[in-house]
């Protein structure tokens, strides 16, 4: 008798369709239980840990590119007339030396593989940019030191710094803009842009020699501020993409 009653009750309960009211809450609870059972995830690397990791693997290629650019610039400096107006002609070569580093994944075909890792494409690009930028600073310091030694015009170091910074910021801004534009042939475009910049600054020293007079320092300061602002804006785009875990540049 009791069995029959039980059967009847069970069939009533099981036969009734129920609509789950707390589905999301239950799913979240299940997820938490699974996480507790499998243990907390191993702490990943922070950004600085990641940066040092990228440095560990990429210092050789970054160093080789920048050293090659510095060697080339050194050879030009010894051969060319010792005038300050030629400094901007050499600086885009350091921007050119950043291109192989930033496009390394795309060139070697590892971009897709790298993009599917914990480090987003943007994070890797940012790390490579920071390391290349640091190498650029070292190389440009070496360039200035060479320039001071060859020309003996240490009093004009401020102008020399401006002649380095303006072409560098302009070149890097254009480089980042081209990468962000996700063009298929961005490698070629970036290389052409850097070499084109060399020609542009060479032409400017001939067409507008007044631009390199002491009286035109204000123009250089203004240009530095403008390109500095554009460069900062490009870096902000990159940092934003990194924070949102997005791709940066062409991956596939």
């Amino acid at each position: 008798m009791r069995e029959r009653e039980l059967e009847a009750r069970l069939s009533r309960v099981l036969g009734r369709e129920t609509t789950p009211r707390r589905l999301d809450e239950t799913a979240e609870l299940c997820r938490r239980i699974v996480e507790e059972e499998t243990g907390p995830a191993e702490p990943g690397l922070g950004f600085w840990g990641f940066l040092s990791g990228v440095f560990r693997f990429e210092w050789a290629s970054i160093g080789a590119c920048q050293a090659a650019a510095l060697l080339l610039v050194g050879l030009f400096l010894y051969g060319a007339p010792k005038e300050l107006k030629y400094i901007p002609v050499y600086v885009p070569l350091f921007v050119l030396a950043v291109v192989p580093v930033l496009f390394r994944g795309q060139y070697c075909g590892t971009g897709e593989l790298e993009a599917a890792t914990r480090a987003s494409g943007a994070q890797l690009a940012l790390a490579r940019l920071i390391l290349s930028g640091a190498a650029n600073l070292v190389c440009m310091t070496a360039l200035l030191w060479l320039e001071v030694r060859l020309t003996g015009r240490s009093r004009e170091l401020g102008r020399m710094i401006l002649y380095c910074l303006v072409p560098y910021l302009a070149g890097m801004t254009l480089l980042l803009r081209l990468i962000r534009g996700r063009k298929k042939d961005a490698i070629g475009q970036c290389a052409a842009m850097a070499l084109g910049s060399c020609l542009f600054w060479r032409a400017s020293s001939h067409v507008a020699p007044g631009l390199y007079e002491l009286s035109a320092v204000g123009v250089w300061i203004a240009a530095c501020a403008v390109f500095g602002a554009f460069f900062t804006r490009e870096i902000c785009f990159l940092v934003k993409a990194d924070k949102e875990g997005k791709m940066y540049g062409t991956v596939v």
Binding site: A27, L45, V54, T110, A116, A119, S120, E244, G245
Partner: protein
């Protein structure tokens, strides 16, 4: 644990690579079959969140994957179809580099790399430069890098390409073991690989899933459409032109054909048991 996608679409200009595909994947091995250009790679790239869909969304445990960012990529292992490598790196260095990108601490990474190199039969070649590796060895390094973070979702695009039969069997067994409580999605042209390990098969054509189900379910769909007939050897070519011939075998001056057709192709044709390959040819025979 669930990887789902809802009306996922990708357009390249006017060309539709993936057209409103939806599915929900739970732990197990899923085989993605389709001819070249069917949309398999595009779909896999969208599932890995490295390609932005034109429309539709991908969810991991009900959370949208692009919003999850690194949290999703932490549970993901991916082997692209044509992946490159840094030629100056050794196998161990390359895996250490990917482990670093995956945020795996150095000590843990060293342990994992050793284990994976051993599993993949590459321990002896760990210190050799990748540029000296054969295609099969490179592919095994690629599979090893996908497994580094012990992913919950493993997406492999043509993982058996370039592997010899022994390596293929080894990989199949490895994936079957690995899939226990994980989601493994693999695309391949080698139907026998899918037949051997896939719990579920998704067949793609023109950017859409045209079939899905277990291997026996799908094979059943081809039953009654596979025929064997014997013809004079000189007629074999003509048959190949007018029907989908899955196999041709010469026996003296006669040719034994395995023909795939909705109707009995000739009076002396006898029905025979279908396989996954027959089903594949039934749908893609004309394209091939």
């Amino acid at each position: 644990m669930e990887l789902s996608f809802d009306r996922l679409t990708k357009h390249y200009g006017s060309r539709i690579a993936v057209d409103r595909v939806s599915a929900s994947l739970t732990p197990g091995v899923y085989g993605l079959l389709g001819a070249n250009g069917a949309g398999k790679t595009t779909l896999m790239r969208m599932l890995c969140a490295i390609l932005e869909p034109t429309s539709g969304e991908v969810f991991w445990d009900r959370q949208e994957v692009t919003a999850m960012g690194a949290a999703y990529r932490n549970v993901l292992g991916y082997l692209p179809q044509d992946f490159g490598y840094y030629p100056g790196y050794t196998a161990a260095e390359f895996l250490a580099y990917i482990a670093m990108l995956k945020g795996i601490p150095r000590e843990t990474a060293q342990r994992c790399i050793r284990e994976l190199l051993e599993t993949m039969g590459l321990l002896g070649a760990a210190r050799k430069k990748l540029r000296t590796f054969s295609g099969g060895m490179k592919q095994r390094v690629g599979i090893a890098q996908a497994l580094l973070n012990d992913p919950r979702v493993l997406i492999l695009d043509e993982p058996t390409a370039g592997l010899d039969p022994k390596e293929r069997v080894h990989l199949r067994n490895l994936l079957a073991d690995y899939a226990g409580d994980r989601i493994v999605l693999l695309s391949t042209h080698i139907v026998s690989d899918v037949e051997a390990i896939a719990d579920q098969v998704l067949v793609m054509k023109n950017g859409r899933f045209i079939l899905r189900g277990t291997v026996p379910e799908l094979v059943r769909r081809a039953e009654g459409r596979v025929w064997e007939l014997t013809v004079p050897a000189e007629q074999a070519r003509a048959w190949e032109k007018r029907a989908t011939v899955a196999n041709l075998r010469h026996e003296g001056d006669r040719a034994v054909l395995r023909v795939i057709a909705d109707e009995r192709p000739s009076d002396d044709a006898v029905p025979c048991r279908a396989t996954m390959e027959d089903l594949y040819l039934y749908h893609f025979g004309q394209e091939a």
